[in-house]
Amino acid sequence: MKLKLEWMSQLRVAAGQARQSVECEEGTRLEQALRLALEQLPPDRASALSALLLDGEALSPSLLIAVDEIQVPIGTDPSLSDGATLVLMAPIAGG
């Protein structure tokens, strides 16, 4: 199946692109989809993104993640459907 991924805020700058599409198996879960997305990127981009996405091994609790425009509760790892759009955002405070 195919997923659409949108990087927001600093993630967009780190990824060097706003949008990415990911091919994966039916029923792939969110965290696995993110790992696949990172593998598609050049190593320097992937490592800059990982620094913003991860808190140790886990996803940072301050990420705002949405699937099809609905926020995914912190600490959950839903399975995804074909055509789903993921939005990922690191918090910003520019005033």
Binding site: M8, A18, Q71, A90, G94, G95
Partner: protein, 258 residues
């Protein structure tokens, strides 16, 4: 926001004249204008974002502005902090802000504080306000303001920007998530100095002012439980549905806030 039991001040003939282009807006009218006149809004920092919020709220006829911002005007403020002027370089930002807003609307009442939101002033300043607009560049200040608005059950418009992107939502205690639901801890990656164009902070400043106006007057639909994010680089706008975190240390069931 409960302004219902308040006696709203009447409008003078000058005010009827000044606001004559917004009074006919459906859902607003004289009643809405009197609510604005009777309202106090706290704006935390009046820099790139807060300058524009203050300017729009002063122009719209909000009665009282509570403004907190420390430091003196620097050359590097002038690409975005629209209330600062070249002539005011080296002078306290808050004095320049007050003067510029008085020039626009001499009927405005002010409480201007020449320091940023901190542990020592947050209780008093939030206590005086009907609604807060959060425009600070540091998560420490934002999370402190969030805690106090939740404690005092006051609405808070949350606006922020980065590079050519911006975001906006409105928190109402008991009805929506709070900032700590979304950002439970200060994100280590956030840096004090961020890339910014004034037109980007100004765009979200205008929208944040409109959110405050809608909450005060009851007009329209504020971004409650909805989180607007946009990128002016490609003009893409997305609205996400957000939810309260039941484990939130500030508003969650275990925080004792209910």
């Amino acid at each position: 926001m409960n302004l219902e039991d308040r006696n709203f001040p009447p409008l003078s003939s000058k005010e009827l004249d000044v606001y004559s282009w917004q009074l006919p807006v459906p859902g607003h009218g004289e009643e809405g204008q009197r609510k604005l006149k009777g309202a106090s809004v706290l704006i935390s920092r009046v820099g790139g974002l807060g300058s524009v919020v203050a300017l729009e709220l002063a122009a719209a006829g909000v009665g009282r502005l509570i403004l907190a911002h420390g430091g003196d005007v620097k050359p590097s403020d002038l690409n975005r902090q629209l209330l600062m002027t070249d002539a005011s370089l080296g002078k306290p930002r808050i004095e320049t802000v007050e003067q510029r807003l008085r020039d626009l609307n001499p009927r405005l009442e002010f409480h201007c504080v020449g320091e940023n939101i901190n542990q020592g002033n947050v209780e008093e300043l939030v206590g005086e306000a009907d609604i807060v607009v959060d425009c600070a560049p540091l998560f420490e200040e934002r999370l402190l303001l969030n805690q106090e608005t939740q404690r005092k059950k006051k609405p808070m418009v949350e606006a922020a920007m980065y590079e050519l992107q911006a975001q906006l939502t409105t928190f109402i205690p008991g009805q929506t998530p709070c900032l700590a639901c979304l950002t439970p801890i200060k994100p280590p990656a956030w840096k004090r100095r961020f890339p910014v164009f004034g037109a980007v902070s100004g765009s979200v400043g205008c929208m944040a002012a409109m959110e405050a106006i809608k909450v005060i007057t009851g007009m329209g639909e504020p971004l409650l439980g909805r989180f607007l994010t946009y990128d002016l680089r490609d003009m893409s706008f997305t609205t996400l549905k957000i939810q309260q975190n039941p484990d939130c240390s500030v508003c969650g069931v275990s925080s004792g806030s209910e």
